[in-house]
Symmetry: C2
Subunit: 275 residues, 2 copies
């Protein structure tokens, strides 16, 4: 899926909501533990219930690796289910990978070709030759960490480097990489005051924004400077939606939480005349 298709879907659903499928078996409803694959059963129910309000799903690979081979099977089943049943949604492997060139190519093939994700998150520290192997895949999106949502993002990302901050340098430098039109960036909702500066550097790219919800970021604050003429935002919420309740109506409650955010998004898009 390319960006144009993503934008069409956002306009159709009046939503730029991404749901993080970060499944912890200790938090899912007890009756699902009787299923053969509780993680997949949970994901399937969440996806089926929330998809009218959601344009992207983002499993974080850590939550699957934590269950070893069974976890990888759940991840594989989840992406296959999404592609077979909801081919219009955008899929994100939140894997934060990155390695020397020939090794990054392995990761890119694993996530883009074998699993079939539309996109993957990638760490920038190792530089251009660690990221370009991902960018080489056409109609696939590489989502580079820029300014992350965690508290200690400030340890390095906002260090002053040659008159600008490190994350600004990451944004600026990566624009000149080969196939940089395939780039999105991760910018945390908890850092809303930075969006104005960020939009000066990358006015056109999509930003994947975690940190709304449990982490405390505000949707309205992110949209103030984050939205662009092509919308340009994917807002992720994980725990606030998927763990809205641990009762048997978890899927309905998740849908209801997703719909609340979708309605807020619809209003913001309408106010800006973006639909």
């Amino acid at each position: 899926m390319n960006t144009q298709q993503l934008i069409s879907q956002i306009k159709a659903k009046k939503s730029f909501l991404c749901v993080g499928l970060d499944v912890d078996v200790e938090k899912i409803p007890a009756h699902l533990l009787l299923e053969e694959d509780p993680i997949f059963a949970f994901n399937k129910a969440i996806i089926d219930a929330t998809h009218p309000y959601v344009v992207a799903y983002k499993p974080n690979t850590a939550f699957y690796e934590a269950y070893g081979i069974k976890g990888w099977q759940s991840l594989e089943k989840t992406i296959q289910y999404l592609k077979a049943n909801y081919p219009d949604v955008f899929t994100i492997a939140d894997a934060k990978r990155g390695d020397i060139g020939n090794t990054s190519t392995r990761y890119a093939k694993a996530f883009f070709e074998d699993l079939g994700f539309d996109s993957i998150t990638v760490a920038p520290y190792m530089g251009r030759d660690s990221v370009e192997p991902f960018l080489a895949f056409e109609n696939k999106t590489t989502i580079l960490l820029a300014l992350t949502s965690n508290e200690k993002a400030f340890d390095f990302q906002t260090l002053s480097t040659e008159g600008t901050m490190l994350y600004d340098k990451v944004l600026e430098t990566s624009k000149h990489w080969k196939n940089s039109h395939n780039l999105m960036y991760v910018v945390g909702a908890t850092k809303a005051e930075y969006f104005k500066e960020i939009r000066k550097i990358v006015p056109d790219n999509f930003l994947l924004v975690p940190g709304v919800g449990v982490q405390g970021g505000s949707l309205e604050a992110v949209c103030r400077y984050g939205l662009n003429k092509n919308i340009g935002l994917l807002i992720n919420s994980s725990r606030a939606i998927i763990y809205a309740t641990a009762e048997s109506d978890f899927d309905e409650k998740a849908a209801s939480e997703a719909q609340k955010i979708q309605l807020e998004m619809q209003q913001l898009l309408t106010e800006r005349d973006l639909l």
Copy 2:
């Protein structure tokens, strides 16, 4: 395994060689493709042949993820085989992970507890709260990327930040993190001219040094400033050893290449009176 046990093993084997188990089925001897698990069969043969000269093995997870669930099974079998048969060797998951706190904890459990690796490589970009969940595991080692061996490491790692270079800042800052005694650092052999400065900042920590061999780094140059009173170096070689030949005597040739490096290491350690 803790650092003291690693040092004892280095002194016993007169070697600080680490072998990277980066297995590409297109490069392994054809007869192994008839095995049920060619990757594990290859690793087993390489380990059995080279272990007298080797103190650490380092599978890079990208090479296993590239083969999906089968790849993870090969990785699991490899680490189990190492722990069962060579409990004295140090094991490194070259995974370059890192995420927000609760998610990093998932990765740490997956690699330290479930798979049972002694150590894992971790990316620093997200800062303290992305790394401390790994450091929280006692008798486990967190190997932080500092100055990597790839060409474009210079994109960000050597940027001038507040009067020093970014990788220096990573070294300096991480020293103050909780349980920083569990830290090692990745420093590429292709950047040998930086080792003097690095040893001023982290005189005591072990450095994991990739890039000797195919990537062109020199063992002697690395040792000049890299060795410390506890040896303090693990030198990794992957392709030059494991793909010494694709003939049926690949394991013997791998052992012979490993022994060559071990003998060079023994001489360097003897010259420095470190044995």
